[in-house]
Amino acid sequence: MPVVEKETIKKGPGRAIVSYKVRSHANDPFFVKKNAEAKEALSKIDLSLLKKK
């Protein structure tokens, strides 16, 4: 028996399913911390290459 349930895996163009069950994580401490770390890491990168595009 396959370990992964194949019916849950899709192939081809996908679209997110909008669900009221998906809660906001904007204020979740984990993501707040992750975003702060990301912001600090991003601030150390020279992004001038991106602005030229």
Binding site: K10, R15, I17, S24, E37, L42
Partner: protein
């Protein structure tokens, strides 16, 4: 002519979102069971506009999200393809902006890098992929260790 296999054609899990198209979730399924994965896009800065992609597992009992546990559900490619699909969906709603990703540890960042490398041919059809190293951005190459990543849909 055989069409190129792109991210959208790779096997992926069903994924769900709120009506803000910033929060996404899906379930990884494998030997370790069913694990809820959360993907969150957060605006980091303007000019250039960059969003952060943060990713973690939600504990089914406590609801606490973490990325310090390695799920090891033997479905890394499917998980990565699903995350790539959430990026596509996010871009459909918010535009083709740069998306930043960094692991919580060097080992986690290395895992992201291995995942990107393993699917580079497919991912690069849809996305421009950059890696940063010591504060400098480079076009992503296999077998190079990067500090973080920036992707943008083409």
């Amino acid at each position: 002519m055989t069409p190129k296999l792109n991210t959208m054609n790779l096997p992926h899990y069903n994924y769900f979102t709120r009506n803000n198209y910033l929060d996404y979730e899906f379930y990884s399924e494998g030997p370790k069971g069913r694990v809820k994965k959360i993907v969150l896009f957060t605006k980091m800065q303007d000019n250039p506009l960059v969003y952060n992609l943060a990713f973690g597992d939600e504990d089914p009992d406590t609801g606490v999200v973490s990325d310090l546990v390695i799920t090891d559900n033997k479905d890394t490619k499917i998980v990565l393809a699903t995350v790539a699909n959430t990026i596509n969906d996010f871009c459909d709603r918010h535009g083709d902006h740069y998306i930043f990703a960094i692991g919580s540890t060097k080992a986690r960042t290395r895992l992201y890098q291995i995942g990107i490398s393993s699917m580079l041919n497919e991912i690069s059809v849809d996305f421009e992929i950059l890696g940063s190293k010591n504060g400098v951005l480079y076009a992503f190459q296999k077998n190079v260790n990067y500090d973080s990543f920036l992707v943008k849909r083409k």
